[in-house]
Amino acid sequence: MNYFELFSLTPSYRIDTAILAERYRELQRAVHPDKFANASEQDKRMAVQRTAQVNDGYSTLKHPISRAEYILSLQGLDLSHESTTVKDMGFLTQQMEWRESLEEIASHTDPDELIDELRDSFGRYEKQISVQLASVIESQNKNDLNTAADLVRKLKFMAKLQEELARAEDALL
């Protein structure tokens, strides 16, 4: 049973995370080890395994990047353990520029303004990538799936930038 089936969801990049959270709470209650206090050893073990599976499934489907990676893994593309190098010059130049801007935050005359500006740029770009990703990830076409994989890789770089932005913001406090 895959994670989408576990949570009775149609496999999709665009899922309703509120429904996911609701199903998660239901399943968690149903398989909670406390309910199996008087059950056989085997049933107890099963309940513990089930709980772990429900937790893993929830954390995988909750975040867009891990959800996208999971969808691709169901199609036979494993991105989570790859050490592929990205060589897209335009994309990487933009990444470099954003990294340089992040470095400037601390010495900027108006750091908050720069932070807001970067947050907007990152958000817009992520949104754009996400929209493209949603349109290709469910395709059965091999080319589309490779495009989807590239888009997921880009989202991973963006996640790193967001992390660095949060760090730079914390450093100002």
């Binding site: 190098t85 990205v86 010059m89 890789r153 770089f157």
Partner: protein
Amino acid sequence: MAYSEKVIDHYENPRNVGSFEKDDPSVATGMVGAPACGDVMKLQLKIDNQGVIEDAKFKTYGCGSAIASSSLVTEWVKGKTIDEAQAIKNTDIAEELALPPVKIHCSILAEDAIKAAIDDYKAKNEK
């Protein structure tokens, strides 16, 4: 995680940080990134008309191992021909820096940066 002394040395005193003018015909630029950790690496080589690498500079945003790998590579490629530089393997880098298995991808990134720079040089000089 404990870094080796060589990694710490390159991390604290990185060699050849900076940039050359990208549009200079003798300058080759290699840009690579690792999606797993979001590291971005730029390696630039200044190549004379005999195909010998005169100088190298890098700029890397990433962990200590990624910075050390690219710093080391700038030292290694100087004085080498393009073909010799192309022969540098990530395993040589990983061994020199005593990188742990989880950081091997940093050395792969540095090797790919050399290859990307050489590809850029070849593309520039075909025109």
